[in-house]
């Protein structure tokens, strides 16, 4: 059974259809990639699935339940977690606190306990702190945990954001360009991390421009162009699809023609 089911999803901004009639599904342990040229609507699609934008049409089902238009924090409780293309890090907080924020659902409790520093609150916080330490070690940021997040390098911030997303112990993880701006070594690490996560049964939905990475790790690929799904299938099928080739290669020709004219 599918964990995430997207059906006829669409949204318009000021009359422009940013995403139109997109359907696909993701199973537990599966890595599904959404690819397409810049402006194809990939991030908008992510924002609709994670509840940040209210879809204009269509539905999102999570584990069989209709979750269309549900607030992001509710989706987080239902096991959906994500990262952002342009990094949404809590810059003023420490590296450790960033990950602890990811443990919010686990460590939250009565506000009275928090104000009075009751033992219950201290226990919850200590548990979260232990697990946050393990996650930071996993993304090799354990030495930086006391630093202000804003001081980290770009690649480190990318890993921090993944650690924060994993803190939720998600059933499905949406990764928006996790390897963007990373060097070859870092990309390889992320590649390995994603594969590990999928192997542990987490469903992965990925937006990524690094085609080598996408082709290597995806079970299934969905291709968007101008907000519409133009193809889907396994890596081999998609890479041979004439429409996909046209969307990626043809664009340059038409752009060149436009420039000439």
């Amino acid at each position: 059974m599918s964990l995430l089911e997207i059906n006829g999803l669409g949204i318009s901004f000021g009359g422009l259809k940013a995403v139109n009639d997109v359907s696909f599904s993701v199973k537990p342990g599966e890595i599904v990639s959404v690819i397409g040229p810049n402006g194809a609507g990939k991030t908008t699609l992510f924002n609709m699935i994670s509840g940040i934008y209210l879809p204009g049409r269509g539905s999102v089902r999570l584990n069989g339940t209709d979750v269309t238009g549900i607030a992001p924090h509710k989706l987080a409780e239902m096991g959906l977690s994500r990262t952002f293309q342009n990094l949404q890090i809590f810059q003023e907080m420490s590296v450790l606190d960033n990950v602890l924020a990811g443990f919010h659902l686990q460590e939250r409790g009565s506000v009275i306990a928090d104000l009075l520093s009751l033992p219950g609150m201290r226990r919850r916080a200590a548990n979260a702190r232990d697990e946050a330490g393990k996650l930071l070690a996993r993304v090799r940021l354990d030495r930086e945990q006391g630093q202000k997040a804003g001081n980290l390098s770009y690649g480190a911030l990318k890993r921090l954001e993944i650690a924060r997303a994993l803190a939720l112990n998600p059933r499905i993880l949406l990764l928006d360009e996790p390897a963007a701006g990373c060097n070859a070594v870092e990309t390889e690490e992320i590649d390995r991390l994603i594969a590990e996560l999928a192997a542990s049964g987490i469903a992965i939905l990925l937006v990524e421009h690094d085609m080598k990475l996408v082709m290597r790790i995806s079970n299934h690929i969905v291709v968007l162009d101008h907000g519409e799904k133009i193809a889907e299938g396994d890596p081999a099928t998609v890479s041979r699809d004439p429409q996909v080739i046209a969307a990626y290669l043809g664009r340059e020709e038409t752009e060149a023609a436009d420039a000439d004219g």
């Binding site: 991030t43 940040i52 342009n86 949404q88």
Partner: protein, 290 residues
């Protein structure tokens, strides 16, 4: 019926003043994204300077002109000395800076002038004009006429002059405006001067009716802001309409409900507008990008 008309007249008069204050807010907000809580102090300065210059023997029109110019200078100084150095500060800081400026101007006015209430002679006498059983003071016509004249003047400025269009461009997108060679620093100076001058003009026009003292600015600023927000922040048409509407609501409340709570109307309106339609009547809904 006569009473209703009477309330409408008085509401339109106060409303015109609120509209002028709201226009001042709008101009600065558009140019700089700053809400200038000291806007009411310019109205006070307009009234006070005119009163004292007139008492010193200056003819009224000259005294009024001097007050408007002096207030404009104050607006420019406010921008240069307090707003510009804190351009990139967070909203809380900017709020405190402009409120600090308002307290400072008020304190200075108390020192330079005095703590008394002052009045100015009406421009065209005090004989009420009778219209359909209600009466209106000639000075009220001056106030309303002033608001309309300023509004038309601003509209011509923004739609017909290159400088006006540069202001609009800056309001729309500061960085893009800079890229096409608009001196946005000069635009901000201009906006603060213009907005202070408009406030001072409102003060000159309304002082014969409502009198003036060093501390009238706070209430006017808050109500002008309520008006601007009611019409939709940053929209001159909204400022005019919001001002008149607020004035009418106040005079109706005073007339039919409770004169004690007339001043509460502005804040009930603010809260209602913000809860129901945070964009105001003419405002646009912002789209959040992630």
């Amino acid at each position: 019926m006569d009473a209703l008309l009477q309330f409408i007249f008085s509401g339109m008069t106060v409303g015109a003043v609120y509209a002028l204050v709201a226009l001042g807010f709008t101009i600065i907000y558009n140019a700089s994204d700053v809400v200038n809580f000291a806007q009411g102090e310019f109205v006070m300065l307009g009234g006070m300077i005119t009163v004292f210059a007139h008492q010193a023997g200056m003819p009224l029109p000259l005294a009024a002109a001097m007050a408007v110019v002096a207030a404009a200078g104050g607006g420019v100084a406010l921008n240069r000395l307090a707003i510009e150095p804190a351009r990139s500060a967070p909203v809380v800081s900017l709020i405190i800076i402009t409120i600090g400026a308002s307290i400072l101007i008020r304190g200075a006015a108390r020192l330079i002038f005095d703590k008394q209430l002052h009045r100015l002679p009406s421009f065209s006498g005090d004989t009420p004009i009778r219209i359909m059983g209600a009466t209106i003071l000639p000075q009220s016509l001056w106030v309303m006429g002033g608001a309309v004249a300023v509004f038309i003047g601003l509209w011509l400025f923004f739609s017909r002059t290159l400088t006006g269009k540069a202001v609009l461009a800056t309001a729309n997108n500061r960085i893009a405006a800079q890229l096409v060679g608009i001196n946005t620093r000069w635009i901000m100076t201009l906006s603060f001067g213009l907005s202070a001058a408009i406030g001072a003009l409102a003060g000159v026009l309304v002082t014969p009716i409502t009198l003036v003292s060093y501390d009238v600015g706070v209430a006017l600023a808050l109500k002008g802001f309520a008006a601007a927000m009611l019409g939709g922040m940053g929209n001159p048409r909204g400022a005019l309409l919001g001002g008149i509407l607020l004035g009418l609501l106040e005079s109706m409340t005073a007339g039919y409900l409770s004169s004690q709570y007339k001043d509460a109307v502005a804040f009930i309106v603010i809260l209602a507008v913000l809860f129901v339609m945070p964009q105001g009547i003419f405002g646009k809904k912002p789209v959040e990008r992630v």
